[in-house]
């Protein structure tokens, strides 16, 4: 029998297995965190799993997003993940949602599931999940990664604190795994711990990581648990006002010049103004006609490294003489 090895555990048993089968989990973001979480939750027999991701598989995902292989590059993550997980467990329902989470759809989707597992990689969506979970009355299992470190917690669980209680103010410095680099195992470990917290919540077993923040450093091998103080005003604010959008847009100080942003579309802070052209480093060669070649263009990325490569490549190979690298990256261009 499929679930024999976990039913033997006293925290599961036949009744626990029934609880798992009757439960539903929405995984928002099926990437470095969401892939391992989804694999273990599907294996464990969660009755209905929603896989929400609007992104497509890229070759640079494969070292950590373990559901995908080389044949999947270019295909929608939600669909590929559903197909693979259905092979792991054909007895559960898996719903692929090829959409981004938005202020408009978040509550509607969250109402259809018992809990939300956060596999996202940006502050906007984490605050959005937080607010929509407060409104829909659902717990969510949070994780974040920065290089070799991770944070893990359960929010909005049985009156416990929310993400806004931990971080009432966010930062513009959203640095994704794509930008900083990450070993595949780091989101892998965090994603599995998220699956573990999810199973504990559904089974009513052990100590759920609510009101606590677990910090993991895979290099030093040290873990720490910090106690999170609930801030009722942060929760009440959302109940009264609804979802408060967090936008990490910013303005460029010197608006009189022309800029070329060679970062990927998901990188933050975002700068949206008419004098900024957005072409990711990898697409420059295909979109040369969009780059002005007369007036001076200031080329930037997150830190100044990719933009330096872009300037060198465009000068050497395509003869652009009007490009200047912004040393130090975007932070030197924006206010604050």
């Amino acid at each position: 029998m499929r679930y024999d090895r976990q039913i033997k555990l006293d925290i599961v048993g036949v009744s626990g297995q029934e609880k798992l089968g009757n439960s539903s989990v929405l995984i928002v973001g099926v990437g470095g965190l969401g892939c391992p979480a989804a694999q273990y939750l599907a294996g464990a027999g969660i009755g209905r799993i929603g896989l929400m991701d609007h992104d497509k598989v890229s070759i640079t995902n494969l070292h950590r997003q373990v559901l995908y292989d080389g044949f999947d590059v270019g295909k929608p993550k939600a669909l590929v993940a559903k197909e693979k997980l259905q092979r792991v467990n054909s007895e559960i329902e898996i719903v692929a949602i090829e959409e981004a989470l938005t202020i408009e759809n978040a509550e509607m989707f969250f109402n259809q599931y018992d809990l939300i597992l956060d596999g996202t990689d940006n502050f906007e969506t984490k605050y959005l999940i937080n607010d929509a979970c407060i409104l829909a009355g659902k717990p969510w299992v949070y994780a974040s990664v920065y290089k070799n470190e991770g944070q893990l917690s359960v929010f909005n669980y049985q009156g416990g604190p929310s993400y806004r209680c931990l971080f009432p103010k966010t930062t513009r410095q959203n640095v994704s795994c794509e930008a900083t680099g990450v070993l595949g195992v780091t989101p892998g470990i965090l994603g599995m711990l998220q699956a573990a917290e999810t199973l504990k919540i559904i089974l009513g077993a052990g100590n759920v990581l609510s009101g606590k923040l677990k910090l993991i450093n895979i290099l030093s091998g040290t873990d720490q648990i910090l106690k999170i103080q609930p801030k009722q005003e942060e929760i009440e604010k959302i109940r009264k006002q609804g979802i408060i959008p967090v936008r990490i847009d910013c303005e460029i100080k010197d608006a009189g010049k022309t800029y070329l942003d060679v970062r990927e579309a998901f990188e933050q802070p975002k700068v949206n103004s008419e004098n900024v052209i957005h072409i990711p480093l990898g697409s420059l060669q295909d979109r040369l006609s969009e780059i002005p070649n007369l007036e001076e263009v200031l080329v930037f990325c997150q830190s100044g490294i990719r933009s330096r490569k872009a300037v060198e490549m465009l000068q050497k190979e395509f003869g652009f003489q009007n490009l200047k690298n912004v040393e130090g990256g975007i932070e030197t261009l924006i206010d604050g």
Binding site: V145, K169, T171, L190, L215
Partner: protein, 78 residues
Amino acid sequence: MKVTIKYFGMLAEAAGKDEETLEVKGGLSATELKDQQIRKYQISDPESVQLAVNQDLNSEIELKEGDEVAFLPPFAGG
């Protein structure tokens, strides 16, 4: 009095270390210690940095000898 600071995420990079023990004047609050270190290491977006004194995320605390203060930044990778 001596207090130990632990830096996480990009704060450890800004400080060039993930832990240090400092001699500080008695009666210093956790928030004052934060302001002092933020200036020292030129940490950006200081209002997003959260403090935990002896593993408790609460910065409205006067520090005592031997306290451990964690400097915690938000991050969002995944």
